[in-house]
């Protein structure tokens, strides 16, 4: 098959799976997940083929795979929509396809496929376990998710959105994929809609990202009005970019390129949960864990960063925009890392670390380190998906313990309820350890080290304040990661539930192992050439390949020992300090970092509530509803009533009754009745007589026409 055709086909299987499941196979759990996983596998296969073919192309950046069709008529021309695979898309496809496939497989186990239906399970609530009678001995086992098929339909649609976003060659279809993901995010966060917290989190995520989306749409519209095109290949030509940079915008001091870049970047802020729109991501942990892994670590938030990276040539035109980007990224990285220090929920820690790591990428982009941002995007996707899936595995194991003891008030997600899981869940522990070390940037062996090191090196070369901020953030990252690992896996079990935890089934552990291999191995493709000892052993493939996306290839950095030492120190130091501090901590009270402002996330939710939500509610209720609607508009409407009624009465009495009814109405009826009475005798019901009459008429008319026209 031609590669272009194949690219067109990549997003389709998950969408088909969505419709198939929703329309036909909703009742059959096994069939539903077979369809969904099969679709993910097809997309994965297509992506891998495209990826391998992309590797074979010399200088893919200049000659990408592209194909487009006429989509919307715009006056005389057409808006063309299509697909594009350049180096950036190729590597993104690679990690998206892998993580999506792994998460699909993981979901089968996570939702307890093959277990009996629960005793008291309700749709829209997490399953509570089922009582099984085995050899006369009753015990409780996990029960299957009631809305199992629906889950697979939703993540299928979600994967469709992500693939669409990745392969599209223009901003509009990218935006379509973006919005589909927004919808799926809403649906999946609120998947257990029976819980109020899940409902609220879903609405919150939807509304918050919506703010970013509106700005992004404005940016797209502005871009279209200036350039007349939304296709990446057409925008990123030198002439178009120069035009964009030279036209001033309506905002003082910004070129239109800067304004557009800023608007698009606000979209990214919303989607990738950057400060100040980061508040939705931690709450989104209300969804099932595969959702957290998929949406809020590996793909959707990556989609935001991907878009920012994609628009890099546009962003980099204006230095003001670039500094805003760099500032937001660096600030978010540090800020989220501090909050993560004081979280006790295993998933929340990961959520804040996600925000923080995304901040790293954004910061890297802001200082112009294009390749480093891409590199970290990929490695982060792998190890963060791994961590989330691992935490899901932990929670699952803990729920096993909860079912065993029957004490449902024990929170299976609280790290202080855990401890000592290393022996209970060895595969989960080792893979989680690999993921955690990758996140912390454990030197040499993990992928996270190489990507983070590259960001730090770039920051050191270009922007010292950013470098310092990121270094501190990296230190905190290593610290809270080790805190998490220590509290969860090391030491002795702190509760009976933890003591009875179980390793999870193979459907869940297999993705963990696969992802941990990728989390280690993927770092080796991007080792800088001048790195001591290892540099040059493997060519710095990523830099050459991804750098080819840009018109001007970015130069490889000179090697400098300072950032290397910094990353070594912060990673090892953070890990060591974390282990030492939390080795003997057994309850939240003993934790010295449970500071109020950290625990409450700097009171951001409360601030937003007071600053935005309360006034808006007040305005809507008092001003819009009471004064505008009830007083003003209803008053006008009430005026209309009597007036119209008066006119209507007049017309009825002086026009309708005498003229229309008496004369036209009754008169025509009487005339019709009279003539019908006379004419009905001609209607015999005999079809052939009718036919003869019709024929006579036809012949007469025909003869008349013939002779009249002829003579």
């Amino acid at each position: 098959m031609a590669t272009e055709t194949l690219i067109w086909l990549i997003p389709l299987p998950p969408a088909l799976a969505f419709f198939l499941i929703v329309l036909f196979t909703n009742r059959n759990k096994a069939l539903s997940h077979t369809i969904a996983v099969g679709a993910a596998f097809l997309s994965w296969l297509g992506s891998m083929i495209v990826f391998v073919r992309a590797l074979r192309v010399e200088s893919l950046g200049e000659n990408p795979f592209e194909s487009s069709v006429n989509w919307l008529p715009t006056g005389d021309t057409w808006f063309r929509a299509g697909v594009l695979v350049d180096p950036l898309t190729a590597v993104t496809l690679f990690f998206v396809a892998w993580t999506v496939l792994m998460i699909f497989i993981y979901s089968v186990g996570y939702h307890n496929f093959g277990q009996p239906a629960g005793d008291h399970d309700h749709k829209g609530l997490p399953p509570h376990g089922a009582t099984v009678d085995e050899h006369g001995h009753k015990h409780v086992v996990p029960s299957v998710e009631p809305l199992y098929s629906r889950f697979f339909a939703f993540i299928g649609l979600f994967a469709f959105g992500m693939f669409t976003l990745v392969v599209s060659d223009n901003l509009l279809t990218l935006f379509v994929g973006w919005e589909i993901m927004g919808l799926c995010s809403y649906l999946l966060i609120g998947f257990w809609y029976g819980k109020k917290s899940a409902r609220d989190a879903a609405v919150k995520a939807f509304m918050t990202t919506r703010i970013g989306d509106v700005f992004m749409l404005l940016g797209i519209a502005y871009l279209y009005s200036v350039t007349g095109t939304l296709s990446f290949r057409e925008i990123f030509t030198e002439t178009t970019l120069r035009t964009l940079a030279s036209i001033p915008s309506m905002v003082n001091g910004l070129s239109s390129a800067g304004l557009i870049g800023l608007l698009l970047f606000i979209g990214t802020i919303g989607k990738s949960a950057q400060f100040p729109l980061h508040v939705w991501l931690p709450d989104a942990m209300e969804g099932p864990t595969p959702v957290s892994a998929m949406i809020h670590a590996a793909t959707m938030v990556s989609g935001g960063v991907y878009t920012a990276i994609r628009m890099f040539p546009l962003l980099s035109l204006d230095s003001t925009t670039m500094s805003i980007v760099a500032f937001i990224g660096a600030f978010t990285a540090l800020f989220a890392a501090t909050i993560a220090l004081a979280q006790n929920d295993i998933k929340r820690v990961l959520a804040y670390s996600t925000i923080s790591q995304l901040g790293f990428m954004i910061a890297a982009l802001g200082i112009g380190a294009y390749v480093a941002a891409v590199f970290h995007l990929i490695t982060h996707a792998f190890f963060k998906a791994l961590l989330f899936l691992g935490s899901g595995s932990v929670i699952h194991g803990m729920e096993h313990g909860v079912l065993h003891t029957g004490k449902h008030d024990v929170d299976p997600q609280d790290m202080f309820n855990m401890g000592g899981l290393k022996n209970k869940m060895p595969i989960t522990f080792w893979t989680f350890l690999i993921g955690g070390f990758a996140l912390s940037g454990f030197p040499i062996v993990t992928a996270g080290f190489w990507s983070k090191d590259e960001i730090l090196a770039d920051a050191f070369a270009h922007n010292l304040p950013v470098f310092v901020t990121l270094a501190v953030a990296a230190f905190l990252t290593a610290f809270y990661t080790m805190r998490q690992i220590t509290l969860t896996f090391l030491g002795e079990p702190r509760t009976k539930e933890a003591a009875h935890a179980h390793e999870t089934p193979w459907t869940m552990t297999t993705p963990l192992v696969v992802l941990s291999v990728l989390a280690i191995g993927y770092g080796w493709i991007g080792i800088p050439e001048h790195f001591p000892l290892l540099g040059g052993l493997v060519p710095n493939w990523l830099h050459d390949f991804v750098g080819g996306t840009l018109a001007e290839h970015p130069e490889a950095l000179e090697f400098n020992v300072v950032p290397l030492l910094t990353s070594l120190v912060v990673a090892l130091g953070g890990l060591g300090l974390g282990y030492l501090m939390y080795r003997n901590v057994n309850s939240p009270a003993e934790d010295k970092l449970q500071l109020g402002f950290l625990k409450n996330k700097y009171y951001f939710d409360e601030i937003y509530d007071v600053v935005f939500i309360k006034p808006v509610t007040w305005f809507a209720d008092k001003v819009v509803y009471q004064i505008m609607d009830k007083g003003f508009i209803d008053g006008i409407l009430h005026l209309f009533g009597p007036g119209t009624q008066g006119i209507g009465d007049g017309i009825r009495n002086y026009f309708d009754l005498p003229v229309i009814n008496k004369f036209f109405g009754d008169g025509s009826a009487n005339a019709t009745y009279f003539s019908g009475e006379k004419l009905r005798l001609a209607q015999t019901g005999r079809i052939q007589q009718y036919l003869m009459l019709a024929l006579i008429l036809f012949l007469a008319i025909g003869a008349a026409l013939y002779f009249l026209i002829k003579v």
Partner: protein, 102 residues
């Protein structure tokens, strides 16, 4: 060589005979037989005009094929109606089926 006018006269005659059948037969099935004759005369005309016009322009034969399809549809529905009526009223004499009158 047969002149075109022969075909036209033949088909006109066939048409008129069919028309006579449609107008006068009492049996509803026989009326449909007449309709078939009329449709056939049309087909003869179409084929003749194809042959005597531009042979490479196949339109005449295409129309004839479509007339075949229409004839098949007409007969199947017509006969189904006849049989249905026969079941309900035990007659297929067209003059007896005068429920359409006042």
């Amino acid at each position: 060589m047969v002149p075109l006018s022969w075909y036209l006269i033949f088909s006109a005659a066939l048409f008129s005979v069919g028309l006579f059948g449609v107008l006068t037969r009492r049996n509803a099935v026989a009326i449909l037989l007449g309709v078939e004759l009329m449709l056939n005369s049309v087909n003869v005309n179409l084929a003749a005009f194809w042959r005597y016009g531009n042979v490479t322009d196949i339109a005449g034969q295409v129309f004839a094929i479509i007339v075949f399809a229409v004839a098949a549809a007409e007969v199947s529905v017509g006969l189904a109606l006849v049989i249905s009526i026969y079941r309900k009223r035990n007659t297929v004499i067209a003059d007896d089926l005068d429920m359409l009158k006042f």
